[in-house]
């Protein structure tokens, strides 16, 4: 694979009527990096994710994934999305939930990881035969992540992945994401939780006013950015490194 970024957004804008949500946003996401994207409620994080995932065409600008602007079957087999809603079938067991998507992928000619080990990797091995409807929010979140990891995606998009997770859950998530990054996956994390983002991501970008307003520095003293970034950086705790341990 060449050096060009896996995901490239150029001048992406999205508006609903007169409400501009994204205003000409540029973003590069390369293989083997974790990029965090932080923004307040209504900053357009979910809209951006929908555009990247191909659920919504941008009003203007261009979205390129692996050299293609299309979001066909072949492209969708190469990335995965973990939404802030769990998106699992409550009447199916954990393993059945995975099995369904694995079979669907198989029919599309895509490869799958073995199911049970994937569940075990996320600490859900003990609950494999339980219906997802009985799961806690945190367990559902991990199940959704397991489903996303099934196809060893080249790009992994996560929307607010920390919200439902407890402390051990966050550590687990951070470890899994680091492993995926080291394997060569490009990972985009979207959240409003700066502390959690900084502890996991290689770089954290600020989404504000519908554009990438700047990069949140790794250490507060480097804050030669805008006032909003400085403000955020001021609130930032010392950078956690547990993810890379």
């Amino acid at each position: 694979m060449d050096d060009s970024p896996l995901l490239r957004l150029r001048g992406v804008g999205k508006h609903f009527g007169r409400l501009a949500v994204l205003r000409g946003l540029d973003l590069d996401l390369c293989a083997g990096e974790i990029v965090g994207l932080i923004g307040a409620n209504g900053a357009g994080k979910s809209t951006l994710l929908s555009i990247i995932a191909g659920l919504m065409p941008p009003s203007r600008g261009e979205r390129t994934f692996a050299g293609s602007t299309g979001v066909g079957l072949a492209e969708r087999a190469r990335f995965a999305v973990v939404s802030h809603t769990a998106q699992t079938y409550p009447r199916l067991t954990a393993i059945e939930n995975l099995q369904l998507f694995a079979s669907l992928r198989e029919k599309a000619g895509a490869h799958n990881e073995p199911l049970l080990p994937t569940l075990e990797r996320l600490g859900l091995g003990y609950a494999a035969r339980r219906q997802a409807g009985t799961f806690s929010r945190g367990m559902l979140q991990r199940l959704a992540l397991a489903r996303a990891l099934l196809g060893r995606p080249e790009m992994l998009l996560l929307d607010e992945p920390f919200t439902a997770l407890d402390r051990p859950g966050r550590t687990l998530l951070a470890n899994v994401l680091a492993q995926e990054r080291d394997r060569g996956a490009a990972i985009l994390l979207i959240s409003h939780d700066l502390e959690a983002l900084v502890s996991v991501a290689d770089r954290v970008l600020l989404l504000e006013g519908g554009v990438i307003a700047g990069e949140v520095p790794r250490a507060p003293e480097h804050a030669s950015f805008g006032p909003r970034v400085r403000e955020l950086a001021g609130r930032m705790p010392s950078v956690g490194t547990e993810a890379h341990a």
Binding site: G67, R78, P90
Partner: protein, 259 residues
């Protein structure tokens, strides 16, 4: 099929259709399996059919035998229309509650498979309810006796009628579910659009009850409208649900790079 028209799935069309069909079958089986575990749709829809049936019985019990053949077809298909709107609304509300439709839309799943699977499940449930209604009408109204005398024809007729309803309804119910739309709009859209199919079904039912030769002709016409509804529904499903990518260049390049 819609993939071949709109998207960059640059593979041979035939293999693409097979993928779509296999995935559709998986999704349909998955839906039915879930339904078998909690029976929510089946029980609520059956109950609603019974309620409608009882309302019809009470409203029209005084109807003379001579005028019954004119009224019974209307009762059957009105009941299908009401139960169908309820079933469709419920199927997609369930998808929306757990946001599973979005998970399917970002997965490597042909969009048309989602359409076919949902239409199939709707059809199966609706068919069950309609057969119950037919049975009830046969017991309540003497003029509906031909339903029992010609079970094969009745079954074919009811199947075709329900298929028409499911074909049109699935497209719009899915569209409303994905755009966080309002369910009240479903009835607004559904009834005017399904009217032609219901009219064909109505005419066919009447000729069945009256023992006319023309029944098969009408059934054929109903089938033709079904085919039309399904082709248009499948064709429109992806553009209505997610829109089309603005540019298609780079698609072939990506397909070549991919193994």
């Amino acid at each position: 099929m819609s993939e071949a028209l709109w998207g960059p799935g640059a593979r041979a069309k035939t293999s693409l259709d097979m993928v779509a069909l296999r995935q559709a079958w998986l999704l349909a089986v998955n839906d039915l399996r879930q339904e078998a575990r909690d029976l929510e749709l089946i029980l609520t829809s059956t109950f609603f059919s019974l309620v409608v049936l009882i309302m019809l019985g009470m409203s029209f019990s005084a109807l003379g035998v001579s005028s019954q053949p004119l009224a019974v077809p209307g009762m059957l298909w009105l009941s299908v229309a009401f139960v169908g709107a309820l079933t469709l609304g419920r199927i997609f509300t369930r998808e929306r509650e757990f946001d599973t439709l979005r998970a399917l839309l970002v997965a490597p799943v042909e969009r048309v498979s989602i359409y076919l699977a949902k239409a199939f499940v709707t059809m199966v449930i609706l068919l069950g309810c309609s057969l119950l209604t037919v049975l009830g009408l046969t017991l309540l109204f003497p003029a509906a006796q031909p339903f029992a005398d010609r079970p094969l024809e009745t079954f074919a007729l009811v199947t075709m009628g329900c298929t028409a309803y499911a074909g049109v309804g699935t497209l719009f119910a899915a569209g409303l579910a994905s755009s966080s739309g309002k369910n009240v709009l479903l009835s607004v859209i559904l009834y005017p659009l399904t009217m032609p199919s219901l009219l064909f079904a109505l005419v066919a039912t009447r000729s069945l009850l009256e023992g006319h030769e023309s029944f098969t002709t009408y059934l054929g016409q109903l089938t033709a409208t079904n085919v039309l509804a399904f082709v248009v529904g499948a064709w429109l499903f992806e553009p209505v649900l997610v829109g089309v990518p603005q540019k298609r260049r780079g698609a072939a390049r990506a397909a070549r790079r991919r193994r």
